[in-house]
Structures are given as structure tokens and as C-alpha cells.
Amino acid sequence: MGGGQDRHVIQMIANASLDVIEEVVRKDNAMYLKSVDKFNEWTVSAFITPGNMKFVLLHEGKNDEGIRAFFSDVWELYVKTTMNPFHTAHSGIRSTVFDTRVRASARKHL
């Protein structure tokens, strides 16, 4: 698999980790699930909002506090985005503001 750098492989890993996340969520009611899954060099951390929206992060190193801070930033941004009356649960977030802020937070915490 050579490091699994293919985009679709990475997406598959994120997708597959949802199975584990859903299983863990049944038992554990924490919002931040650190290192919930692992695939080769990729570690998957997740964050479940009270609305059952799942944020999944694939990372290599170990940085629990940074990831936790990043997730809470993203959560805040996500809540702000969903408060937009023109945003629906059916559509993806296409806000460039959201994107830049998430990137900025990633640069800060990760």
C-alpha cells in the first residue's frame, strides 16, 4: 500500500473508521474520541457533536491536546455555519470562511 497516500485510500480509511466510531459512541458518551482507530501509520481521532455530526481526523503523530483544541475550534465554526439560515443539513459546507478558519486552527493546534 506504500504509505496509503492515494486520496481514495485515505478517504476509505476515514470512512471505515466510522464503523468503529459508531460502535464506540454506543458505549462512550464523550465528545472527543482520541485515537479511536488505527490503520497502519494513520491514527484516527474523532469528535462527535451533540447533533451526532462526526468530525474525523487522520493523523500520524500523537498530539491529544492539540487535536482536542482543534476539534473544539472546528465545532464552534461548525455551529456558526449551521446557524446560517441558508445552510441546510443536506448540503455540504462550501463556505470559504469556514475553510480558512479551519486551516488557521489546524496551523495553530496541529
Binding site: M1, D6, N15, V20, F39, H90, R94, D99, A106
Partner: protein, 1328 residues
Amino acid sequence: MPSMLPPSLAPHTCILPSQDLVDLLASSSLPPLPQILQSFSPLPQVTTRTTTLTPVPHPTFALRFSDLVEIEEGCREDEEQRAARTLDWISARISRRCAKWVEDWERVGGAAVETERNANLRTPWWDEVRHCIEGDHIPSRIEGWNHPVAVIVAVSTMSPNPLQALAQLHARPPEFPSWVDGNQLRYTLIIHPKNSALSDEEAGALFNAVKKQYGLHTFLLPLELPSPPPPPVPVPLQPPRLPRNPQSTTQTPEIAPLSPGAIPTLPGGLNTLRMGEQDIQQTARFVREFVAMSLVPWMEKCAVEWNENFSSTRRLPSRLFSSTRRLFGSATPSPTPTHGQNSSISSVTSRTRSGSNSSIASVGSGPPPPPQQRRLAEFATTLGDLKLAINVWETIRKDGKGGSEILPLLLSPSPAVQLHVSHALQVVMTSNTHSSAVAQVRALAYAVRWEMGCHPPDFIGNAEEPPSAVLLAHAAYLSVRKKARRRAALWYLFAANRLEKSGIKPLTMYFLRRAHDLYKVSPEKSLSPSFWDSEGMDVGSQAGFDAIVPGIEHALGRLHYTTGDVRRAVRFFLTLLQGASSPEQAVLSLGTSNGSNLELSKATMSDKVFLEDFRVSFQHLKDTSGPNFDLSDLKLPVTFCDVRHTRLRLPGDSVGGDPDLWESREDTWRTYWKSQGKESLQSTGKAAVNEPFWVDLVMHNPLDVDISLANLTIIIKESTAESSGPSVDFVEVEVIDELVLGAKETQTIPLSVRAKRPSTLFITQASYSFLNLLPSSESLAVRGRRLQDTPIQRQSKVYAPDVYIKALVEDASQRLSVDFVDDGRLVLEHGECMHMRLWVSNIGTEAINDIWIVAGPDDEYCIDDGDVADSVPPPAFEVFTSSNSLAQRLPQRVPLDKLLGSPLAPGQSFEFALTLHANTVGDQELSMAVVFRQKERPTFHSIRVMRSFEVRPLLSVASAYGPSNDLDELFSLDLDIRSVPAAATIEISQVTTMSPTWACASRAKRRIGTLLPGQAVHLPLGAQPWDQRSGGDETYKFALGKLEEVLQGSDTDLSHPPPLVLRCDHAVSTSVLPSTMQSFLHQGRRNNAARHIAAVHRNLPHHLYPAIFPLYHPHAVDVVIFWEIPSEGRSGHILVTGTTLGAGHGDLNGIIQEAEEMKVKRNMYAETQIERSSILEAIRASEWNSETNPVVLTVQGSGAVVEHDFSSSSCHIPVTLSLRNYSLTRPAKYTFKLPPQTPASGVSDMAAPSWIGRLTYRGTLKPLEHLLLRPTLHATQPDTYTLGDWRLEIEVGDEVPSTGVHGWRTQYRYVDGPSTAAPITVVDVSSE
């Protein structure tokens, strides 16, 4: 606890046959002895005993037999090398058979079985891997399962001297390395065939002799072995075994390799043995005796003895000592004894070691055999003494010597099992290099043993061997059973990725297909159906990860292509050409985490690769499949036409402009013609026969790569045609040979269409050949609107039929072409009159009799009809009659009779001129609809013509007006004309005033001359009432009546105001206005007045303006400034409106008051009330209701200096005061009072005068009357005097003879006082 141990944990017995036995079996068409004996495993109903002598019944007891020489060789082979060989061997086996497997598996619906949790069905590829791993029988350094428990020395009585042969075999010690457990049971087997040279008695004697010499573990096996071998009997399938190392087999060629190929198999894959019934029974008896009488008791005995040792070390003192030793750092090895030292079972271990061991130099003093504890644990496990086994394994595990790999099999399910599993794997991983073959094989072996409930990738690592891939596939298979479909999809993908590298394509494709199918199944969501309904979305329409499906499909496509299934490959590649949905989404999903760009190998995932793959595969498919290649099932997943932006363009449409504007021009025409006749105006938007029109096809490339479309054209249907064939034959459609669209590019492609007869055409499809390979067509229909008429339509989604682009083609009988002759950029000065020429040509087939021009209401233009004004001597002033109506200008008819003298024949053309007045500064457009028809034809046609121009500012004119001080004139009107700094040198040629009431004259009778840029000129004008004025009162009445109607809320009748006579005075020189100028002035006044009214009376409906307001206020004065720029040959005029002279008397006040006091109708809308009051306010403030004090007092000769000799007398100065009534309609009563002697007021520093003689004047002033008052000022000393605090009381009213005492009714009262000082200076000229 497992019901049955895996066969790989069964006791392993090695057989050392003599050469004569080998020959005997070969001659009887029988496989080697280990294989024969293996056929009798597992043995049914075996009972073992635990160390506590509790019997343990085994329903089946597995055994493993192998050739001693082979095992010895296997031990000598490098472990890593053998592991690598194992992996290759398994890969080869999978590769050879997977195509058949996949076919069979899919035939029985394996995928469906997965989901049904049918545990009995196993995937063939996993079974294969399992069997191969289970079949491993070479002892390992790590564990003792494969270490031989017993060695059977076998001879036949066919040997010339069986005893000697036996002695030789017994003398040959097993050549195992030092790390192999030497603790083995030695067993002797003598096979006595029927055709032996020895008789049965002799064989019995031999058996007894052997028993005497080699112990009781001896057996005489008599066999029939008939000469023609009996028919084959099916026996259990032997586990496949790794073929022997080719290098070492050359050393011992006498022993046939134990390869699966050597096993005779039936076509059905069954294993058979050609043995007679009696022989089978005999052999079975031997096997049972061997197990029950020798092997099991021997193992039990070992277990008991070792257990003694084990428990003794576990007793308290021993443990204390050992821990003390550990505590005090003693270097003594662990007390667990090994067999080498502890020879308590001397009888069986005496022959375990011999000097020949040292011949294996490398291992001569090499690693020790497995520790006794481990062997104890293994024996206990094999014998079913699970209590002891678990105990011992736990101890071993605690000592860190393994055991984790077996415990999960023995313990009941608990979380600890998982920990054991991961620990075992960790040991494997750390004890070897990460991806060594040994580690893989070991991990595989563990996985095979555990079979379920573990994390395969943890022990696969980066291995790319097919067995690990199959293991992953099995993990996926199990995940599906656990309903973890997403994870299963990932495992399948990983498995496929690995298998692909080994080139095992059928299975790779199967795995990819599974991954694809599993990913496509979206997990169940417990959401209300309304969640989807709320946004009108399909449940399946949600978008997930964008790269997964293309990634899998691309791999599948490539595999299909390489395996020769080009047709399916093409289909896969075609579906990949989806294009990214939107650029920002692509950016988002590409995801650069923590700011640094993630190195994603985009090359494998881009549209470019997909397209290239499609091109190559499709070309190949086309080349190979010949001309009768059916393409109908290949549909492009992307569309390139942007239907909603695709338009029909007719030749007349090229003028551009706002469609609403053209619509309003046509409406203007229809309104105009409604009163004239019944003929209708045919709307534009029709193409003519044999004249091209265009379909502007908007093409957008959604892909991230350049594409080419060949033979791009459109398919047109006639509205009446039923057929669905190609384009109708009477229409010529342009075909574009090749169109290249760049990545994400949008292009508008005009395709010309020419119809040969009138009809209604629908543009239904665009067709092209994608990449010049795949013919394709796209519908150009737009979905109809959603229907909401009936409840059923509202409850479900029902749409009107699709809408196609429609083109109407008509006969080209009436066609006109109109163009401006000069179409360069046009820059005009403000007010300039520009002559423009239009070229009109009849391109139809019939003559045209009438042409009208319909322009916008604000456009000021005149058609030059070629008339030359008569040169008459200019009068003192001009008089002309105005319609006084604000009504919009009617369409202008082009005087064809004058210009041509005949109708415009087909093919004929002519030019006519139009004068345009640039009345507004800025960028302007003149949009005119030209309406025409043949005489008496029932329909009019129209054509559009448009001209853009820019208007620059030139002059700024300010006007100021007020009562004049001059007695000769009533009002003074001062004009300030200033040239804009950027303008050219301007010549003011004429200043003309126009008014229904006032006659104006310049007080400075001179030419103004040139005006340099930025220069200003002041022009004073005086205004006097015109004694021949007429129509003013009627106009006033009309306006008042209409405004009253508006205020009372009654319906306004649409009557127009009465005409009004206008007087024109030329201030600069006498001249005559041309008739076109009158028209321009009327249009200019109309535009200005309409703009003013629209701004002030915002709440009145626009269409009512002409019915309410007259064009001219009777007292209005308009000033027209004519200018010329001789250097540029430009000329023009600027109209200044908005001046109203004369006093008004608030004639609407009564009506307004009435309206205010009117009983307010309750209205539910506050807006209506607000609107009403705003209308009222606007009318109250309008010019029609102006109210001023009409009487003005002026001091004649103010500022005069009077010389007087005060030495003789005081000074009496007569002061002339002028009193004038500026009202045109009402008389005014006045009372003028001069103050008696008053002290000097503090307000002014001038002296207060004292008056002598008459101080109070009373009288009545008729309209426009003026009179002079002459009071006398008494000055006692030289000084500057003001008039002091005089007071003027005015009563404006009507003389009504019937009412009041004096027949007077006062309407308004005003009081006036001094506002300016008007000083009079008295100078003493006494000579003293």
C-alpha cells in the same frame, strides 16, 4: 473453549521407512507410508487422561504423519527462506485457481451469503490459505507443536534381512538440530505383505525378536496388497504441504517429494487410496493401537512427570528462592528444566542425542530445545487436559515466554482474549524484523488458528504477499458479517491492492467489486422521511467522499482492460468522467492539514488520467471489434451543453438593448394604433425563410482536462413532425468539425440555421462525437415548471412538459433593414442638435407603404422632412399655440411620400435624416422601433435600431428673478450663463424666452458674443405682462379642477388641458424659430415637466399626469439659450424651465382644507392613509397653490444724498415710495403708516426720521396697478436717515358687490415692515 483443536496442534509423528518398504508401496500403487497413515486421521473416539487421571473423551483425535528425512531437511533449511518459499507457494496456488473460485463463488451468490451470516460457507481463497498454513509441519524454533513426538521406524518383510534393516534404521539417529525437542517415542513397525518371502510364522518370530530387542512399542502389520491394486477408496483430503527445497532434494533423491501433485486425486478433488478392505482395517487397527497403546500413554506419562517438575517449582519455597535469586541478581538460569539435563525418562531419551548431532556444525552447540514447561503445556493441550494447559500457558506467559497465541483458543470469550491476541502479535513483530516472511507466516498461522475476532492489519504490516491479502479479504468477509460494511470495504480494498501487485487479477477484481458494492451501501439512518422531503431531496442523493468510488472504479477499469475485457473497461472509464462538482469543493476535500500540503498522488486520480485511459481503451475496442460495434449502451455521464443559457439569436436581435425596453416600444405602438385601426403588430422574434438565424449554444467543460468534440451540431424537429428521426430536411444546420474545450472552460458556440420554408421548429438536441470516438447527443430541453394546480400536483412533484427552444420561421415578404449610416462613436455636447442619417432598405418581397418610428418618451428627435423654412422678415416677437399637454409623443411617421414619392419597392433603399437633441448629460442610448407594413396589410412588422452616444456638459445656467425696482417692468429675471471649463469656445447666438403671460426683454441690448472656457456671462431680463395673453385662466381652471378631483378621490377623467398661446421673445437679436425647434422645445418642456412632476407627486399614478397637469403653468417663463461652437460645427440649445413669475393666492387652500376635513374613510391599510396625506402635502406645496403677498413697497431713490443749508432752516425732503400689486388677478387694499417722531432705535445706527404732513395712506390697488406715495421727511440736522418703522397692511380679496358692507371680501391679510435700510443722507452745505 474450542470444540476441536486445529489440526496443526495435533501430535506430529515422523516415519523412517526402509528402502524395501518404499519399493513395496510404490509397486502396490500406494502413496508413501506417512500419507497412508495420515488418511486415518482424525481417529474417532479416543480417550485420554489428565494428570489427575480424569478421563477426557475425544470425539476425534487428529494425528500428523510425515517423513523423517523431509522433516530433518526442513529443519536444516533457513527458517526465513522457508517462510518466503511458503508465501510464494501459497501465492502460486491462489493465482492458479482464483479465476475458477471467483466464478463459482459468484455463481452461488457468495456476496449475498456474506450478509446472511451463513457461517458454514467459507470463501475458497481463505480455505486455501488456511489449509496451506495448517499443512505446515516443519518444527519451529519458537513453538513445539511441529516437533516430532514419535518416530516410527518401518520395515517390510520383503527385505532380505528385516532385522538388519531395522538395526540400521535404529542406529540412524534423527538428524535434528539441537533446538528440536529430542524427547520422542520410538516405535517400530513391521509390514508384512502377503507376497513376502517370510511366512506368517516367520514374521511372528521376527516380531517377537524385534519386540525383545527394541521394546514393546512394536507392531506387525500384515497387509494383503493384491497385485492388481483394488479400486480407489476415498479418504480425507491431505493438507497441502510445502514442496521440499529443490536444493536439498537433490541430496536425497531416493525419497519422493511429498507434493500435492503426487497424491492421486479423483476428478472431484477427493483423495483416494487403492487399498483393499482388509488392509484398511488392519492399518486402522495399527493406527488405533499406536495411539491408544503407545502415543497417548507416553504423552500422558510425560505430562505427569513434567507436571511434577512444574508443580515443584511452583511450590512456595521454590518460588521464594527463585524470587530471592531474582531479587539478588543471581545469574542462575531459570529453574525450568530442559530435557537435556533432566533425563528422568531415561528409557526414551537415551537415544535422543548422539554424536552425529555435531555433524550439523551450525547448530551443534546451538540454541536449546523448547523448555519443558512449554512442552508440558503443549502436551496437556493436545491431550485435552485444558485445566492444566491453561495453568501452564498462563505461567509461561507471565514469564514472557509466549503462550498468548494459544490462550485465546483455550479461554472462554472475554476482553482478555483480545489482549492475548495483540500481545502474541507484538511478540511476533518485535522478535523478527518488521515484515520478514517468518513473521508473516507465523502471524498467518496464528490468524488461521484464531480465525475470528482479531485485527488482521496489525500483523500484516507492509507485507504485499497474496496470503496476507487473502487474510485481509477474510477480515473483510468477517466484518461484513459483523455488519461493519465500511470497514469491510476498506479491507477488501487493501486486499485488492496487495493482490494486484502479485498479478492475481480475477480475485483482485472480485475484491474491488466487493469494496465497491459495500461502499455503495449507505448505512441505515434513523431519520424521518420528512428530513429529506423538506429540501426535496432523494434519500440516496447525499454526497460522500468524492474520491473513493472513482478510485475503485479506475482500478477495476484498468484490471478489466489488462485482462482483455475492454468493453467493461471502457464502461468503467466512461463512468469516471464525472468532473469535479465545484472548484471550492475540490479544494476543501483535497484537504491540506495543518497548513502543509498533503502529498496526494493526484496523478492517479485526475480527469486527465481517466480521459486518457478511456481514449486508449475505447480506441482499442473500436479497432478490435470491427464496424458492427454497438455503442448504444455507452452514455457519457457528463453533459457539456448549458441549456439554460443557450439562446436563439435572430438577425434583428444583434442590436441588443433591454428586452423590456423593446417591449414597451411595441406597447407604445399598439396603444397608438388602437385608436387608428385594428391591424396588429406582429412581435419580433421570427426568423425569415432562407435567412440564417443562430443558436448560441453555451458549452461548458466540467472536466479538469482539455476535451475535443467533433461534428458538433444541433438536431431540429418541426413542431408537427411526429418522427424522432434526425433533423428535418428543409433546414440547413451548421456543423462544427472540431471544438476543443479547455479544462473548466465555457464557450458560446453560434450555430447557424437556415430554413427553406416557414414553419415552427424545436431545437431538441445537440449532437457531437466525444473525442471523435463516441457519438453522443444531449437533450436541449429544460424541465417545465412545477405544477401546483390540483391537490395531487401539490402533494407530489409534477412538472409541465419539457420546454424546448422554439424558432418561428416566416415568409420573408415584409422585411426591412434599417441602420444608421454613421456608426462611429458619437460624442455630443449638452443640448446639441445632431443630424443623423438612417439608411432604410426593403429586403422583403413586397413594397412597403408606411414606416413609423417609435422612440422612448424621453428621446427628443425630429424627422427632417426636407422642408425649408420660408424666409420672412422676423417679427418683434413670435406667437405660437401649444397643445399644453404632457401626453407622450406619438410615433412619428416617416414621410415616404415626400422623401421618395412612392412606396418603398422590394430591393429599394433610401436615406433620411433625423435630428437628435442631446437633452441629458451622460451615456445615452437612442432605441427606436421601426414599424412598417404594406398598405392595408392586416399586420405590422417591426425592426429595432439602436445608437449609443455620450453627452458632455457644456453650459451651466442659473436664473434668479424677483420684483423689479424699475417702474417700467414688473419683474427682473437675471441669467448667469457659465461655460464648463473643459468646453470649447462657445458662441451664444440667441436667448429666447417663452411664456404664456410674460413678455421679456433684455435690458442690455447687445450680442453676448463668445464665451471662453470657464467664462460666465450675466444677462438681465425684464418681464412685463403680455396684454394679449389668452388661455391662462382656462388652464388654471383645468388644473384646479383636476387637482380637486384628485383630492376628493373621485375618478379623474382623461381629458386634456386646453391649448395655450405662447409668446417668444428673442433677447439677443430678432429671428424666427424653425418649426422643428417648436417641436424640440415642446418635447424638452414635456420631459422637464414630467420629471419634475414625477419627483414631486410621487404617489400619483404616472399615466394620469397628462390628465391632471398642463404642460405650462400660465405664469411660467422658459428660457432657451442657443449656442454654437463654430470651430467644431456644432450647435444646439439648452432649455431652462422652472421659473414662475407673479403672485399666487393659494387657490387650492379651500379645497385642501375641505379634503382634510372630509370624513375620513376608515381603511385597513395604514399605507393608503400615508399615501393620501403625502399626495395632499405634495399638492399643497405645488406651484398651483403658491401664495405670496402681492403688494411690494419700494423706495424710489434710496441712497440719495440731499444737500441742504441747515443754517437757514430745517430740511424737508419729499420721499417717493412706490406701491405695486403684483397679482394678476386680485385687487389689494393697503394701509401704509409712517411712524410719528420716534426715538432712534437701537437696531440701526442711522438716525430715525421724523415725518411731517400725512402719515397714513389708504387705498385699493387693482391687479398689476402701481402708485406712488410721497411723504415728507423732516431732517433737523445733517445725518443719514432710514425710513423708520413704517408699517404696510395688505388685504387681498375680491370685490363682491353682493356681500359685505363695501362689497369686499378679504381673503388674506399681510403685514409688511422695513426690511432694508434704504438710507437717505442729508448733508449740510451751510457756508457758516
